[in-house]
Amino acid sequence: MSDDTTIQITVDGTPLTAQRGQMLIEVTDAAGIDVPRFCYHKKLSVAANCRMCLVEVEKAPKPLPACATPVMPDMVVHTASKLARAAQKGTMEFLLINHPLDCPICDQGGECELQDVAMGYGGGASQYTEGKRVVFDKYIGPLIATEMTRCIHCTRCVRFGEEIAGIRELGATGRGENVRIGTYIEKSVVSEVSGNVIDICPVGALTARPSRYTARSWELSQQPSVSPHDSVGSNVFVHLDGTTINRVVPRENESINEVWIADRDRFSYQGLTNSDRLQTPMVRVDGELQACDWSTALAAAADHVRRQDLGVLVSPNVTLEELYLSQKLGRALGTNNIDHRLGQLDFTAQDAAPVMPWLGMQLNDLETLDAALLIGSNIRKDQPIAALRLRKSALKGAAISFINPKRFGLHFDACENIATRYDHMVSELLCVAMACGADVSAMADMPSTDANERHQRIADSLNNGERAAVFLGNISVQHPSYSQLQYLAVAIARKTGATLGMLPERANTAGAWLAGAVPHRVAGGKKSSTEGLNAHAMLEAPLAAYLLVGCELEFDAANPAQALSSLKGASSVVAISSYMSDSLREHADVILPSATFTETFGTYVNATGNWQSARGVTAPPGDARPAWKIFRVLADELEIDGFTYDSPEAVTKELQGQCGDVQLTNMIQFDSVKAFEAPSTAALLRAGETPIYATDPIVRRSQPLQKSLDGKQAFAFMADAELQKLSLKDGDVVQIKQNGSAVSLPSKLDNDIPLGCVWVPTGLPETAALGELFGEIEVSRA
């Protein structure tokens, strides 16, 4: 820093160095000097409305708020002088006038900023003896409990909505004594990061509904962990009440999740104690699943997986160690039929694929982009914390564009938000590539289309942006023409100089590639000597035996109907799973109950290639065991060497040794591209996604998340014109037929769905009987 921006100030007699433009409170915070505050929050704008941080500044006629006073050269500040203390005490007394003295029954009690500051800076008694104000609460959803009588109007939650989440849902209505914070009308808040207002609320006005009235904060112990729900890998603390999880809160990590977490990270733990949790091993005897002891189950499992023609399907949400051991066991049994890409259909580019898909940059680089094109990505719901970072770029004027099968709701203004029938995504992207002047010669068989001004605008933004990026999101990976989207994304990035990034779909998608949980590569990304079947091929026709690790194929598979019929047709199905599911109940021959992320040591590799490990902090229920131990004893039963690990860290270390020379790049060279197949234009098409609260077995069972608006996705969404064409009214129940199977769903009006498409999400019990996420369907009134 050059000298003209660095200035000297004196606080409480201590000389401090500060940067011009900094607020006083930032300097005192950095120096560890306590200044009380309520409305100030380092990640939010300065409101200066609580007046708690008043300090004495020499030559100023009255106390000044430290949060809104810029430092000046040679400023002399007293934070604890008689004047400062009197101002703070007076403010405290005013704040407490309307605040109820209900700390003994308040969930915030013991971790309350108001309580702490009142103890430190307030008087012993109040002069105010009149009646206090009462505010009647409105229900704002299943995640946040409100007690607005306790609110001190700091407006942190309001500013969070506007500045961070990008959705103004809470506001300050009324005036003077009648001001209240709330939604004004009775409505659930819908932001996917809404739970953060619980943490920033300095009083007990906004508290976590699921853990309300269940424990006192001083009785809880705190253990670090990593959220296993998306590829950001948000750092969390698990708060334990004895041996049970009481709640999950953010663990600050500026380079990953800053101080925020998504609601999925915060409330998923409610699914850990669901009644579906498997507590004992089970084997099928005479067609019935029966509980048994471990040795019986392991012997049976060993018999089943010894068969020829085994397929190993492993969820990309399990730990890195479990992914590694799954493929190691499969390969030791002589098969390369190993895959984690359960929702993928197009594997054409897998040989050219990078060692692992990754963001192409650090997470904080998302904040300083000038332009970006996201292809097939609902980033706000799929990687909510990464989306908050991208939003910061947009607010600074970056041109962020999308090509999607639906116009997803955004929390910033997009440059172009192209929503098209899914089968037109490739041609839309081709138009952008041509507008960029990219070499797309391998796509010669594409129908020729002319770029319009929208494509040109995207191309110009990428060409002109100094820091530009092209990202492929979750929907791209599930798209039937994934390799074409990849090819075009590479071509655009190459031509424009933009960074090509992947938004890995699941918490350990990157880890799964590194661990070798793919049929064509072993750990460390090295080519496998023989290539096995990919996930889709394994399920297209039944194999003799399946080993399922952490997956629920009725929700995870690219074609659930086909996956279930293959499980049915297999003679052996062995599952290592934490939860019972319908598919296991019907088809599993042996079930080995495994621990979840809070119950075992495990590593998650996030979108930036960061290996983050967390220890188990609770015991698995009943006889469930950490999966690495299950693999160890199963290998022993099978008389396979190389599994005698004495700790899960030993597994991590072994894999680390094999990943030493991994180079990360997404700029792959294509040999061939899949030929373009257009569906008949007259056909009605299904499109969809895996909704935010349907991504993995834990969140699928978290009741608070399922009860929220994002958890209610079992609808046939369509535009007004589509409803009219089918002579339907919004809400009519429709029958949806796809490849011979049919389900009934209520219709729901959504004008963000392109014409000719009906949006039917996957990952839901109501749609599990259907086939592929993208394809032709018939819709009629049920």
Partner: protein, 173 residues
């Protein structure tokens, strides 16, 4: 930057606001830059309230939010802050008696008491026939030289006496 919640469906302005209201709001919008439509929120709410017998329903506020590309809560904040907006149904004629210092010194208490007794309601209430709304006037209406005074449907009446008040209020339809 609009911060309209992307997941919230608002009514189209045309489905709630009258043609005349839309026209008036559009006229106000010509006075502000295109990207600062929210500048017209006070005017738009006045227009909307006028269309609806003197009060703003949530639906109307949502329509204004849609029209001005604002988050609905931001419109609720404005409507609930200003005393010239009513967010609950009120009587057809708005009677606001000034009780600020000059009027108080000139005997506004007597006027308030008289009117309350006349209609059998308190300040802040409306008559059960929906005819009269006794508004709580928050601020000085700037007619101190004529105190005590009141405003009836935007018209000032000064130097009030109980008899004069009766004449004025009895003449309302």
């Amino acid at each position: 930057m609009s911060s309209v919640p992307a997941d919230v469906t608002l009514p189209t302005p045309e489905s709630v606001l009258s043609e005349h209201s839309i026209e008036e709001i559009d006229e106000w919008l010509t006075r502000y830059p295109d990207d600062q439509k929210q500048s017209a929120v006070l005017a738009a709410l006045s227009v909307a309230q006028h269309q609806n017998l003197g009060w703003l329903s949530t639906e109307l506020m949502d329509a204004v939010a849609a029209k001005l590309e604002m988050a609905p809560i931001a419109v609720y904040e404005v409507a609930s802050f200003y005393s010239m907006f009513e967010t609950k149904p009120v009587g057809k004629h708005c009677v606001a008696i000034c009780t600020n210092i000059s009027c108080m010194l000139m005997g506004s208490d007597t006027i308030v008491e008289h009117v309350e007794n006349k209609f059998g309601i308190k300040l802040g209430d409306s008559t059960s026939d929906g005819k009269i709304y006794l508004k709580v006037e928050e601020e000085c209406l700037a007619a101190c030289s004529g105190g005590p005074m009141m405003q009836v449907d935007h018209v000032y009446h000064t130097q009030l006496t109980p008899q004069k008040v009766d004449e004025i209020l009895d003449a309302l339809d």
